[in-house]
Symmetry: C2
Subunit: 367 residues, 2 copies
């Protein structure tokens, strides 16, 4: 308004009509010059683009969305943006979306089901599809959402909903194998959230892999999947010593190491520890954390690509799910089992509830 202020208001967006008038053609012709398939290449189209360029014309995505019912936006809902696990996932999703000319609407559920629900509810009308990463929602709630817009879930498997997960089974097998090769005869699994599909999967996978290496396994938990949770777990471990632990995820593992250290128990001297995910910090701590590396970035990009496919195809391909390979990254937190303590695991094996826990974890999975 005020002449002194170079405010935004003065920048009246140029429309298709401005271009049409300037180029002496009909508006629809301008629209065509910018339309999708292979772009029109007539002489006029070229001239129109020229004129548009000069006028600084940008097609208005919102208007386009309204008339095409395609917003070219994707929602990425994560359970907690501050969780380092998601950094790479977000990045992968963002990159894949950008490649396809899509924009990412990020929403943080802040570990709250209520907030997640609300976020989804609000995002739905403006997006063409949704990636749910680490959703707190129930399977049926998610299935409900996927009835309204294409959905791909990350790190979780739900019947009838496309998903992208790391190869938990292989990962746990690799971890177990590694520990066995170091002479460990028994392993303690430090569990994550009770409601986590991934946790159940990992535990079950460990149970299955154990016999092949004559490993005895037990399980403690559930714990909150963060550093404090791990510290808590360390407490429990102190009361029930083991020589080797596999944690649900890296943060838990890091917490365990810290908690153990605080009690004078050395890693890997006294206890070997393995995490899962290979987050940024797992390389920074000392000892470096041996961990099952999940392809975080790829998980994000794959989920997004699948979502895009779903959108394009109008939801044909029913089961567009993917299992991504994992890789064991050996760092300093695992070592040969000390021969000194002869039977560190005796008497602590066969914790009741293992079988039940293994069974419980199947509710969600079709894989």
């Amino acid at each position: 308004m005020e002449p002194t202020e170079a405010g935004h208001r003065e920048h009246r967006a140029t429309t298709i009509y401005d271009v049409a008038k300037a180029a002496g053609v009909a508006p629809s012709t301008v629209s065509r010059a910018f339309s999708r398939p292979g772009r029109v290449n007539s002489e006029t189209a070229e001239r129109i683009r020229q004129v548009a360029e000069e006028l600084g014309y940008r097609t208005n995505p919102l208007a386009r969305a309204l008339s095409t019912a395609r917003s070219h936006m994707l929602a990425l809902v994560v359970s907690d943006v501050a969780n380092p696990f998601y950094s790479e996932v977000i990045r992968g999703a963002q990159a894949a979306a950008a490649d396809a000319g899509f924009t990412v609407l990020l929403t943080d559920a802040q570990e709250s089901e209520r907030l997640e629900r609300a976020a989804i509810e609000r995002a739905i009308p403006s997006v063409d599809g949704i990636v749910l990463a680490g959703s707190r929602l129930s399977d049926s709630a998610i299935r409900m959402v996927s009835k309204q817009k294409p959905v791909v879930v990350l790190n979780r498997a739900i019947v009838d909903v496309p998903s992208v997960v790391p190869d938990n089974a292989r990962g746990m097998r690799q971890a177990a194998e590694h520990l066995a090769s170091l002479g460990h005869g028994s392993i303690t699994y430090v569990a994550g959230p009770e409601a986590s599909w991934a946790d159940g999967m990992r535990w079950r996978s460990l149970l299955e892999a154990a016999p092949d290496h004559s490993l005895r396994v037990r399980r403690i938990g559930p714990f909150s999947p963060d550093v404090p949770g791990g510290v808590q777990a360390a407490e429990v471990l102190t009361r029930n010593p083991t020589s080797a632990v596999i944690a649900y995820n890296d943060q838990l593992a890091i917490g365990v190491i810290r908690g153990l250290a605080a009690r004078g128990i050395r890693v890997p001297g006294d206890v070997s520890v393995i995490g899962f995910d290979n987050i940024f910090a797992s390389e920074l701590i000392s000892p470096g954390l041996t961990t099952v590396a999940a392809p975080l970035y790829t998980e994000g990009s794959t989920a997004t690509k699948h979502l895009l496919t779903l959108i394009e195809s109008g939801r044909r391909q029913q089961s567009l799910s993917a299992v991504l390979p994992t890789l064991l990254v050996v760092r300093g937190s695992t070592a040969q089992r000390k021969r000194k303590r002869t039977s560190p695991a005796s008497g602590t094996n066969s914790i009741p509830g293992s079988a039940a826990a293994a069974a419980r974890s199947t509710s969600a999975g079709s894989r």
Copy 2:
């Protein structure tokens, strides 16, 4: 289409017209029943809301945006989503936006000016404002952007553009003071990216604070502001020993510690190290990193709130900038200076270029 598939397509969104018809009123009346200020409270309005509820009607944000020229979306452009520094910032921004009923469009510049430019270009038409966090763009480029849409920059100061920055001066003073109190007489500043406004600011602040504590300071760098950069810096430090270093940010500091350790130099035994930001990982490494804690979350939320204010006010308040307080978090990476080595810093002081570097850093700042 196929009856077997519970596809998304069948869920034809209910519109204002559907509600209008069902309620026996005109569409505009329905619109009013949902309009902003204080909401209409007539009997009819109440009934309309009732009907809408039953029909599962949700107002279409895109259509609303088209007609009101307000999308209720904000763009948050970060230089690198994978950088842990941004986790909290994103979270803060996201929360503040959600509070105001706004949605966040996250875009990752992937440390590329070209990509950042493109991302902004694409986001501009769909958003009501933009938060630029750690932008790689030139001051003038940013000023250009801010002519089109309200902009708030984070961690940087630009004339005429609202900004949110941590109190770098105070932070560096606290750090210097802490080191001085531990008996250190000379400090090496490990610099971040040359183009970083924050880096210049921090170095200059350190220079200013030094005399008050009879501290001698020198500067090495620039280094890439990540862990590898810090490792590189450690190399340089090995050739020019000091007893104390302050790094541009935590990741650099962590790299320094690791690099030093690899060379058998102990932290804090031989060298004390201080970082900046207080990212998640700084607490996890050992020794814990003493660091100047920047209010990451608050930076994100404040920037967003200011942006919202700007949007609402139609860009009145010219200088809506904020300087957020910092806090020194003392952990294990700093300690009393060893008395053994008598003059560790002698001969390495007064590196040429310090003054020039201090001068160079002023180009951007108005504060």
